[in-house]
Symmetry: C2
Amino acid sequence: MEAKLTDFKQYLKKMKSYEEAIGLIYWDMRTGAPKKGIAARSEVVGELSGELFKMSVSEEMGSFLDHFTSSGVQSELSDIDRRIVSECKKEYDRSKKIPPKLYQEYVVLTSQAESAWEDAKDQADFPGFQPYLEKIVDMNLQFIDLWGYEGHKYNTLLDAYEPGMTVEKLDQVFGALREQVVPLLSAIQESAHKPEIGFLKQTFDKDKQKKFSLYILEQMGYDFEAGRLDETVHPFATGLNPGDVRITTRYLLNDVNSALFGTIHEGGHALYEQNISMDLLGTPLCSGTSMGIHESQSRFWENMIGRSRPFWNRYFPELQKNYAGQFDKVGVEDFYRATNEVKPSLIRIEADELTYNLHIMVRYEIEKALFSGAVKVADLPEVWNEKYREYLGIVPSHNGEGVLQDVHWSAGMFGYFPSYALGNMYAAQIKRTLEQELGNVNELVREGNLIPIKAWLADKIYQYGKSQTPTEIITRVTGEELNPSYLVDYLRVKYSDIYKL
Amino acid sequence: MEAKLTDFKQYLKKMKSYEEAIGLIYWDMRTGAPKKGIAARSEVVGELSGELFKMSVSEEMGSFLDHFTSSGVQSELSDIDRRIVSECKKEYDRSKKIPPKLYQEYVVLTSQAESAWEDAKDQADFPGFQPYLEKIVDMNLQFIDLWGYEGHKYNTLLDAYEPGMTVEKLDQVFGALREQVVPLLSAIQESAHKPEIGFLKQTFDKDKQKKFSLYILEQMGYDFEAGRLDETVHPFATGLNPGDVRITTRYLLNDVNSALFGTIHEGGHALYEQNISMDLLGTPLCSGTSMGIHESQSRFWENMIGRSRPFWNRYFPELQKNYAGQFDKVGVEDFYRATNEVKPSLIRIEADELTYNLHIMVRYEIEKALFSGAVKVADLPEVWNEKYREYLGIVPSHNGEGVLQDVHWSAGMFGYFPSYALGNMYAAQIKRTLEQELGNVNELVREGNLIPIKAWLADKIYQYGKSQTPTEIITRVTGEELNPSYLVDYLRVKYSDIYKL
């Protein structure tokens, strides 16, 4: 038993090594790999990914799993080891159920679809992308049949990003959220107390932006001996191992906030990955537990800390110093309100904290309808525009800023979008418990005393990695399952104050 | 036949992919990987290297080689394919002849030896390193017996770095070189016309150093779309694939030349790797043919171009502009002479172009004697100091600046050192042909017209990668085998002029 377990863990460690190597190659490709080397480098990724996939579905893996899931043996395993086995088994079953030829076809399709999508988006040409998307949806429906499903077919897709999440649950939480957010948004739009935002849009030196971003990261407790900050077109965080969690941001010269909040957001993801217990190193549990919980951490730090009043009470003077002369005539309250401007917009990734949730609900409704068969791909532009009118009160002038704006569908990532809004809900719920357990959090933030907050999150969430499910984590930490009312309350209180409702 | 060849090449491409991934990981570790991630990253390297080694000695590889070296088949192969097979066969035989247990023992030994060496060097404590070195020499002697040898045992070690090189040949060329260099050095030391070098040692802004380094690289024809320049403690070049050849340099704030010539040196290595024919991509021939030929290119660009008078006639005004105010009172001739100061010194990596060869000869004589049994490890400090007195006229005051100065032996790299001096000889010989074929090279350099030089080298040498041996290359390009007289002539002319001998 011990020997077999050692062999199994050695096998998993090898898989993790491949994953780490692939992760580093991707980081490098995005941050500064010379472009003429990319074609050959992609083949390297192909080789390593192919090997990794083979290992995940090999006969050897199959025999390990048979052994460790057999009745006599399973019960002898430690909780962590049992979780490792079930994680591998889930992956194994998911992969084994797809015939290799079909999977290969899908890989080719999505890689072609991604470049077709880029062109289509540039030219606002939905018909140019439609056949790819139809085929991708079609193949995902085949996959769902092969994988099996309970209740709604879309549940199987959701489960890949947020284990255990269902349409039933999402309908409930998104419904409750929307019911409150839509009237709140109307009230905000009717408010006479709109923030001035002009001073956010001066020209800001890139080095100064970088310096301030690094400063805030350090304040959050981001460990620079276990990470680094680089520049990319699209910000991201990547946890190669807990001792090497890198983040990137993007500097817009005419916007003081874009790089900063991008950094804080990715920094939140990074705090999670940096603080996973070293006991989980080399196992499949050494990563965040789900997209939703991960996003809860990036959004907690970005919005609930970074866009909070106490945060700017503490850090606005530092910002003024950093951009000497540029904010002399701006008050901290003005800055705080500008930073939290709410305004319906067409592009998800530029949306504010409040309306962001509505962008997600549009996508959720559409994905759900696609996989129930209620909507056809051909109808998406119309459905999209109609939903934007209904949820946000505005309509795209062309499909490039509408249904074609996101990359996700071209890569077959259905079921991913809800994670973003789930992250907001988890974050607000966790924040409530944090306040109960840690005392006056606003006071800590006002003092720039962010480390106890990080430490609490590390203790309650980060250290566990994937050894607990999202539901287990949220229930253990907050005492109840996902409950949208915390986010609703948080948003109402915050924005009623800012817009004097 | 065709199908089997395709399979074989696929297999080799996979090996190259692993090599490329490992290469990137090393680059990253040296340029900026967060230190807390290094331990886990080293295990990733271990996994991938282990796989790569297994592939190189697998039964599958064995059966490919049996097939493609069998009499009926070999003759059907193209020249390139035959070379690919023989390259793999050489590696295969070399690895297969060492029992895995012995090799494993050696890996552990050298990794321990490297840290023992670091301590020993710091404390000038040869006895602390001696037992490791004894064991390493011992095991290399065992390897030589297993590999087999012709003539001198040391030939087998030389062959690993410079295929075909022998003690017989090295004795001849180093002898001829030494016979001329030693008296030339004496004459230089007695010359009354010593350059002033004080102005090289001002304080130089790092960003300006970087800017000038990048400018010169661009002048050399280094392709920035196929590479990048970073900063490390020890400069290096790494060719991941011909479209991604990265170099690093080190900035010393009190030395205008260190980073610059480091950059040009590594840039020379990089030009070689960037210009290997894409036809060789994914094969074991897609790299420089030997350490000696590689070093010929770094040294050609560093010394024969970069430290030449026409180069500074062209670029000294640019240097003056780059370091505004710092070289106003310095003439180009003064700068040229200072940059070529000759002075016996104790440390190889700080040596000038002329005495560098003597540092190498000391090491060559010692390695040769170690493997013939004429010298024992215990006697090395004494032998080392004696040779330095004889060749360079100076003696280390302690072993840290003497026999312990280089990392090579702790890593078991015997036979490597001669490559550096071979590089100088190859470079001078190739330069002669270049001048014959390209017309007035000095004139091109004086005009800053370096691209035709790069193009000629790419055409004559770089594109071939490892598809020709060093001897084939030098003979084809220059019409004769390695001949030290070109280096001797070059050094005599250059330094007689500088020192007015």
